[in-house]
Symmetry: C2
Subunit: 357 residues, 2 copies
DNA sequence: CTTTAGCACTCCATATCCTTGAGTGCTAAG
DNA sequence: CTTAGCACTCAAGGATATGGAGTGCTAAAG
């Protein structure tokens, strides 16, 4: 059965009001709204039908109505009005983003904090490398007696290093040989390719510095493993506590516990395919403790083949329009910031001169 | 006025009981204790005196007593019995620590989580470099056209790197010259020494690769600045909510908000001088929102001239004996783990053979 | 056929009162 | 100095009343 225009209007009003007040909405409150030229009785009839249709619920006979999960779903998909960010909001989001962010996990942490501040809700932020990488280049630096610095440059131009200290006398020349061997044999080898035969082969031809090989390859494997990993950060859990739905400490705790890094470690997977912002209303959540909370999330681009995700957790009664708007804006700004290829301090590329400053 | 032996015993019992039950302790509960061969009336007299002396408090006339801040202080300083960790406890702490920890900030995060799990309280963990370091060695690696990897080895053997991409053709030879210049001029120079004269001088003698110099020195300064910074992590805030003193949501929120990274960023400073474990009881805390919570913290050694700190936040009624024991054990284990110079996979140092396994 | 005024009814929230019991302080006897 | 005894206090919890917001239904009006 299709919803009449008026039913939609009533439903939207109920959800809007409930989002604002967190109290069951009565027919009278609806009639008070501008643009609602019906008596409370009419609204009551409409609300009664919306209830039987499953979009509204009644906590008890003589209370107002609250939206059901289906009601929220419909609201999110069709009913809610676009929320336009105010200049102040975009400004504060922008200024928040402009802070310097250096390493990926620091960045993830910062972003989580910023999103939480911008939405006044607990936020999570994650970044993960799409596929696994390989090593593009090995370098070995002799750095004093018994100290060797291993520098790995990965396919995606990420560079990692490790200081190796061995009570072992190796010469510059030995290292040259070893690095040549490594570069010949182990570059472009994915993690799965680290077979013991291959490693033995390297070992055999490594020359004087052979005893370094195990350390080097261990570290390399470790690195390849890690760069595939997701880093996740959570911020602002305590914000839940100021919302009336989480006055119940136990509930709050359960929710806060499930907003843990692990629970969301696989969320980027959930985002797979979906583009734009995704909303999970109450029971649509997998984690049982989130069954009466909602999650809003968006992905963004970090460049270098990495994927980022930001999201917030809040009561099912959250201001979806506002929150999704802020989140999308955030994601867009972040994509703009990171998505581009890195070109820092470049001494002005020869570009067609433009007038705009 | 000195406390009699019996008063101390009573006070200790009250604190112990209150820690266990979180309920005001009555005279009868005390008499029920083993080793308390006095009637409730006697205990009442003692308790009355302890109250006038300021060690105990009465929520209202007809309630039992709870320890005052002064009471806790005395308890922590003199009264509490040493808590011996059970084998299970040390085991679980050890196994928790044994997980691999790689980078400093990852480590800090992990430790916070572990401590929180071990104590069932919100935990913070911080690490900071004592003084500022200098660069021990510059290396430049040519990694394809326009890509140069800068590798800095710091005084404390920490190694950092940065990939520099410039649309610029430099040769291996150019880099050799540049790195020689850098190593000659900029090693062992503290952050304050980065004067513009010095930097100009380097720039002048840098040869073909001069345009790299600003990027390199910027990054170097940035690095020196950062390594001095403290990294802090918090974990397990939600654990507060299961404690009766934080049933009051507002209070819980205030406390959780003040267990923020920033508030504790300067805590390592508080630990300055103090060695061993430090306990801040209720009003002894600076942050006003922590005035009725307590903080227990310990520092540990990370080696490389770094200082670490772990701490927990909880109700004033926390099991100080148990918590300090666990924390100290944690700190010791961490110190053992990090404090030593790193000597991995070392093929057995020649040591006087010992029988103990 | 739709809308609306009117009214009886429901039921939660809040306030009020009462009871119960743990715990105290004091006194007087051991 | 210790302890039994007793009157007193006061928070916590249960029971009961009351007010009010909101509903559903009916019947009249548009």
């Amino acid at each position: 059965m299709e919803l009449t225009q008026r039913k939609k209007k009533v439903l939207r009003s109920v959800v809007d009001l409930y989002i604002r007040t967190a109290e069951p909405v009565g027919s009278k409150a609806i009639t008070a709204l501008p643009d609602m030229n019906y008596s409370s009785a009419t609204i009551r009839n409409e609300m009664a039908e919306l209830t039987t249709m499953g979009y509204l619920e009644q906590p008890h006979t003589s209370a107002g109505r609250i939206p059901s999960a289906a009601g929220y779903r419909l609201y999110v998909d069709e009913l809610m009005m676009d929320y336009r960010l105010s200049v102040d909001e975009t400004k504060s989001i922008n200024s928040a983003i402009e802070e310097k962010m250096q390493r990926v996990d620091k960045m993830v942490e910062k972003v989580a904090k910023l999103v939480s501040q911008a939405t006044d809700l607990p936020a999570i932020s994650a970044a993960s490398r799409a596929g696994s990488t390989t090593v593009k280049r090995f370098d070995l630096i002799l750095a004093g007696q018994g100290s060797i610095i291993l520098v790995l440059m990965l396919r995606d131009d990420q560079v990692v290093n490790k200081l190796i200290k061995l009570p072992l006398n190796v010469t510059e020349a030995d290292l040259k040989i070893l690095s040549a061997v490594l570069n010949a044999a182990m570059t472009d080898v994915p993690l799965e390719g680290f077979t013991s035969e291959l490693m033995d082969k390297v070992m055999a031809s490594a020359g004087a510095a052979a005893s370094l090989v195990p350390v080097i390859l261990d570290f390399t494997q470790e690195t390849l493993k890690n760069t595939g990993a997701t880093s996740v950060a959570v911020s602002g859990q305590a914000k839940l506590l100021s919302l009336p739905e989480y006055r119940d400490v136990d509930k709050a705790q359960r929710v806060m516990d499930s907003i843990d890094e692990e629970t969301f470690a696989n969320l980027p997977a959930v985002m797979e395919g979906a583009n734009g912002t995704k909303v999970l209303v109450g029971p649509e959540n997998v984690a049982s403790d989130l069954k009466d909370s909602s999650v809003v999330m968006t992905k963004f681009d970090i460049g270098d083949g990495m994927q980022g995700m930001i999201g917030v957790v809040g009561p099912t009664r959250m201001d979806y329009a506002k929150i999704t708007a802020r989140l999308s804006y955030f994601a867009e700004s972040l994509s703009k910031m990171f998505g581009k290829p890195e070109t820092p301090e470049q001494p002005k590329l020869p570009e067609p001169p433009k007038k705009e400053e």
